[in-house]
């Protein structure tokens, strides 16, 4: 009976207690890292946000048109807070990964390592998307103004095409960076671009030359200047 109690009940309990004693310091370490991470994240986010406000970061973004771009994208938070919150969540994620690593469990360690290895790709993709967004806004506005000044009736269409073309390109590059359906993205982008070029070529050369000509003349030709040109000297 004593053997039974010792083998069947106490042994597992002893083993469990031993395991708990092994894991407990790690759990404690995880808790401390999480708490420290949360505090660091809050403090860093708070101070960086304040610092950016003091140095006039919001005003600078306003001048550069970033605020307007954020508003257009539905983001109503001001840039200083955005940077502060981004920093906060970055530290939280890093602290969580470090806390999980403190448990020293093989599957969790493996997961944490692969997550850390993915972070540079995530950052690169985010930078590509952001740069693509701002660049597309800048270029589409320049295209719109130039097209209106040239008197092209579909000015807005041309500007929208330039914006979406750049944003799709940036999206494809970001997805490739993240390793999501790499081949599909590249092939899809190639097919789309090739299709547009082929359609244009067929329209011009084979299918409906006259129709394409009339359509393009109607849609793209600037208002006739030769017949009613003036000799106004603006200078």
């Amino acid at each position: 009976m004593n053997d039974f109690i010792s083998q069947a009940l106490l042994k597992p309990l002893e083993l469990l207690g031993h395991q708990v004693l092994v894991v407990l310091p790690n759990m404690l370490a995880m808790g401390i890292i999480l708490l420290g991470g949360c505090f660091t994240a809050w403090a860093l986010g708070f101070f960086i946000e304040r610092l950016l406000r003091v140095i006039g970061f919001d005003h600078l973004c306003d001048r550069l048109g970033i605020n307007a771009a954020l508003l257009r994208g539905g983001v109503k938070t001001d840039p200083s807070r955005l940077v502060g919150r981004s920093l906060y969540w970055t530290v939280i994620v890093l602290a969580s990964i470090a806390a999980l690593g403190a448990l020293n469990l093989a599957p969790i360690n493996q997961f944490a390592q692969s997550l850390l290895a993915y972070v540079p790709h995530l950052v690169t993709a985010a930078v590509i998307l952001l740069a693509g967004y701002f660049l597309s806004n800048f270029i589409s506005r320049a295209v719109l103004i130039a097209a209106v000044n040239a008197g092209l009736p579909p000015a807005r269409l041309i500007a929208a095409c330039s914006r979406w073309g750049l944003q799709i390109l940036a999206g494809a590059m970001a997805m490739e960076q993240l390793g999501i359906a790499q081949h599909i993205v590249v092939v899809g982008f190639g097919i789309t671009l090739g299709g547009v070029v082929l359609a244009g070529a067929i329209a011009f050369g084979l299918g409906a030359t006259d129709l394409a000509k009339q359509f393009l003349e109607r849609r793209l030709a600037p208002r006739s200047k030769s017949s009613t040109a003036d000799d106004l000297h603006h200078w």
């Binding site: 320049a142 000044n149 000297h233």
Partner: protein, 447 residues
């Protein structure tokens, strides 16, 4: 103050060594002006020989890389002084033909001319365009004598022009310069100027040679810089200005951008000067004014209105960023009117320009976008001016320009309000005196 030298070619340096110093310099910026440059060089040579025979004079051609042989033509153009009854030419006219460095444009060409003037320590300079057909030897005297004998630092031209010739001048450059700096210089972007050697050195020392000033912004910049620096300014009556048609490829939008960019940049730089200026004063005019026949100018109003309306439809988000809400609402109210009734009144145009200047200063959007987006608005205003002056004589049309100028002056407090609220505090006493009058006058816009 900078004392860095503008780079010159080795040949030019050698010529400067040979010449040493001079009293007078006449500069001719050129680019593919084979058809007209010979006439311009002759007129300048005769003018110098006839009116300034006792002075050491230099003619400088600053060329932008012409491919039609313009510089060679300048170098070999000869004048038969005997046939012009000029026998007492006392000094030889030196010629310097040189390419210029820097951003391609008229401003960079002028920079080289200014540098040569500084090296030769000249007392008086003049610049004339190489595409002029109506230049006569008298222009040289009229541009230089006020500097040499009357103690002026800057001579602006005064031309006879058709009422539709020089619309950027009439609707923007003249009224805005006059309202800001208080000097009634009728042709602030005329192209032909006289100035002292000291002013040429002042121009060189400004750090503007990588901006719009290096291109077509040079003319308005020279004028505003002269006034703001406290130079004594005057005008000389030169008669009619007839020049070769501009390059068809030259883009109105680019020209407007360069002139407005230079004007707004000057406003930023000289805020302390114009913010204290309350009223405008006439500027002395030299020469003998007379009437000449001017060729009629055909204008396509419908096309300009069409450009304006497309701008209103397509550039709405951009104009909303540039203009105050009230200003944009009034522009939008013109949308439904017929072509003949689509008119931008003076008050509304002044608001547009003052709003644009304030937005330029605040950098609420890329400046190049802002300036280029104003082209359809300018065309709309030009169409309005043409419609308002159809059937009027040049004198009556000039009265309309005068009315616009007065509106620019009267509404200057509006500019203060939008330009810089802090500046408003410092000029509040002035504003209080003017606000009542402005509110009454601008009331028509709201009604």
């Amino acid at each position: 103050m900078s004392t860095s030298l503008t780079p010159l070619t080795a040949q030019t340096e050698a010529r400067l060594q040979e010449i040493g110093s001079a009293d007078i310099l006449v500069g001719i910026p050129s680019y593919n002006n084979r058809d007209t440059v010979e006439h311009v060089v002759r007129a300048v040579s005769v003018g110098l020989a006839k009116y300034f025979p006792e002075h050491r004079a230099v003619l400088v051609n600053s060329d932008g890389g012409s491919s039609d042989g313009t510089p060679a033509l300048v170098a070999r153009t000869a004048v038969d002084f005997q046939r012009l009854f000029i026998g007492d030419q006392q000094s030889v006219l030196h010629r310097i033909v040189t390419p210029y460095h820097g951003i391609p444009g008229k401003g960079s060409a002028f920079r080289t001319i200014f540098e040569i003037a500084r090296r030769l320590q000249v007392r008086a300079c003049a610049v004339v365009d190489a595409d002029l057909r109506s230049i006569s030897p008298e222009w040289v005297e009229l541009l230089l004598r006020p500097i040499l004998e009357e103690g002026y630092d800057y001579v602006a031209p005064y031309y006879l022009r058709h009422k539709y010739d020089g619309t950027i001048t009439n609707s923007l450059a003249y009224p805005l310069t006059r309202a800001l700096y208080g000097q009634r210089i009728r042709q602030p972007i005329g192209g032909e100027f006289g100035f002292s050697g000291a002013l040429a050195t002042h121009y060189l020392d400004q750090h503007v040679w990588e901006s719009e000033v290096a291109r077509f912004g040079i003319d308005i910049w020279m004028t505003t810089e002269a006034i703001a620096s406290g130079a004594r300014v005057c005008q000389s009556f030169l008669g009619a200005k007839i020049h070769n048609p501009k390059d068809p490829a030259s883009d109105l939008s680019a020209m407007l951008t360069q002139v407005m960019g230079a004007l707004f940049a000057s406003m930023e730089q000289h805020e302390s000067v114009w913010s204290r200026q309350q009223e405008s004063q006439p500027v002395p005019l030299f020469g003998f004014p007379y009437e000449v026949g001017i060729e009629p100018v055909h204008v396509n109003v419908a096309q300009m209105v069409s450009y304006y309306r497309q701008g209103l439809a397509d550039l709405e988000p951009i104009w909303l960023q540039i203009l105050a809400d009230d200003t944009f609402d009034h522009l939008r109210n013109l949308q439904g009117t017929a072509v003949g009734d689509c008119r931008i009144p003076d008050e509304l145009w002044v608001r547009v320009i003052y709003d644009a200047a304030a937005t330029y200063r605040k950098r609420l959007m890329p400046r190049e976008h802002l300036l280029k987006a104003l082209t359809p608005l300018y065309l709309g205003r030009t169409a309005s001016f043409v419609q308002a002056t159809q059937g009027l004589t040049s004198t009556e049309a000039e009265e309309k320009v005068e009315a616009l100028c007065q509106t620019f002056e009267r509404m200057k407090p509006y500019l203060f309000e939008h330009w810089n609220p802090q500046a408003l505090q410092s000029v509040r006493p002035v504003l209080l005196r003017h606000t009542a009058a402005t509110t009454t006058a601008a009331g028509g816009v709201h009604e």
